[in-house]
Symmetry: C2
Subunit: 296 residues, 2 copies
């Protein structure tokens, strides 16, 4: 088997975790007719039956050791809080040449956990994070086009073998993603700013309003802007508590920067400094419009 | 003319200001075939030509006194910062029986300004606010369906004549809106929480990120959740600086409440208190999912 042919044909893929991301990966692999055999590790017998009924996998097992025994490429797509347990299970069961990648929203914490468990296999571990998702979760929420034209960030370590990286790149290219590479610490800073902080702010806002006495009525008069602004507050609470805790070191500095900026906005309102507000809002609009234009 | 027939047929409507809201009102009136003559006060000759070319108004003038001379129902749809000037112009020109309403995002400030200028005409002033809009602004941004099934909040004062209220209700019912009534102070508190605060948070977030050194790159890795969360930061800076300043009294308490809650979330992150974070996020998700369900 030629490990550098950049095709998935000869891979035997095992996806661990069939949530939104794992479920979308197997749907995408199927839609692309990638040729690889795809097995899965599922949470329970119910999810195993569901996966089989959807015709998405060759075998679905609840046991990591069984499922990965013949795998050549293992994709760990479990919530951040469950990563360490999966790596511990993999340590004993992983075939010697198998490549492992993950889809976690934080990278330094995952890299630490993989390194602690995988031993020599850590050289074939390629940390990854697809910048794609919705506020929904679970196998039902997945769809084959989720990664189409979306970025996936790979954060290889100095130990990562180039061939392992190439095979994980082939995986993502096959299902339509655009690949970026950076180090794990930088990934965690960027995502703290653009993803973890917005989630914190949205969750906190909805909780603030929900605990106000007149809350039912308040939500009655909320409009489309509020619906968009708070959509991410419908994301999985447990998943996000784990992400924010795991990325503690990168989240706190950007949260503190935001708290400082919000205090300045508060001072401008208290001082009726309309021009300072307008200047802040204008800078924001210019940046937001530029962002929207680059996306479209 | 029977003033209680709840139809617009005999009204001669003058819309002052053809931005998103004013432009959508005249499009909606036209689409509904309301039968009323509709004139407009526009910002400049260019906008007057545009309004005539779109076939939206009978007459478009830049002069309030000329435009309202024969009006029976005047809709003031200018930005909050321009309300006081329009009421001053109306004071001298308003026909004795004409009803006046507005579409401003804050109500106590508008009521104060109307009372200061309109004299006896204040009894026929019906403060209003359609809870509808997009992040876009200007005559081009308007569309006839903007108010369909959306709420409009009317905040009559003790001085407001019931017949004036009934005629403004007929206007909004004709173009598809659902009418709510509350007092102006309560309106301002509710909107501070569900609209003004989210705008402040979104503007501040985008500005915080835009001023970070690596900002271009940061926005590259932002995904759909960020796009939704920050959409309202593309709203008109000048309009929103005026709204927040005008609603100073209601915005500050809810902003302070939010700042306190965000400090508690920060403390939970600093303490690695994952369970406290999960509990906050869960309360928020439950409230947000309930809100989404009521909307759909």
């Amino acid at each position: 088997m030629n490990r550098t042919d950049q095709s998935l044909e000869n891979e035997r893929i095992c996806v661990i975790g069939l949530g939104l991301i794992g479920g979308s990966i197997i749907r995408a692999l199927q839609a692309k007719g990638c040729g690889a055999r795809v097995d899965a590790v599922v949470a329970d017998a119910n999810e195993a039956r569901q996966a089989r009924e959807l015709g998405l996998v060759s075998e679905a097992s609840t046991d990591v050791a069984t499922a990965v025994a013949k795998a050549t490429l293992v994709i760990v797509a479990v919530p951040i809080g469950a990563m360490a347990g999966v790596f511990a299970d993999l340590a004993a069961a992983l075939p010697a040449d198998a490549v492992v990648t993950d889809t976690g929203s934080t990278k330094l914490s995952v890299i630490r956990e993989a390194q602690a468990s995988l031993g020599e296999g850590f050289a074939r571990f390629v940390p990854g994070h697809p910048i794609a998702g919705t506020e929904r979760s679970g196998l039902d929420a997945g769809f084959a086009e989720l990664f189409e034209q979306r970025r996936v960030i790979l954060t290889p370590t100095p130990a990562t073998e180039p061939q392992a990286l190439a095979r994980v790149e082939a995986l993502w290219r096959t299902i339509g993603a655009r690949i970026s590479e950076m180090d794990g610490a930088h990934h965690d800073e960027v995502l703290a700013a653009t993803s973890h902080l917005p989630h914190l702010l949205a969750y906190t806002l909805v909780d603030t309003l929900a605990r106000m006495a007149e809350r039912t009525e308040i939500f009655e008069y909320a409009a489309g802007g509020f619906a968009d602004f708070t959509r991410i507050a419908s994301s999985s609470p447990s998943l996000w508590a784990d992400i924010v805790t795991a990325n503690h070191d990168a989240v706190l500095p950007v949260l503190d920067r935001y708290i400082g900026d919000l205090a300045a906005v508060r001072a401008a309102i208290a001082d009726d400094d309309r021009d300072a507000l307008a200047a802040t809002f204008q800078r924001a609009k210019t940046a937001r419009d530029g962002f929207a234009m680059r996306r479209s």
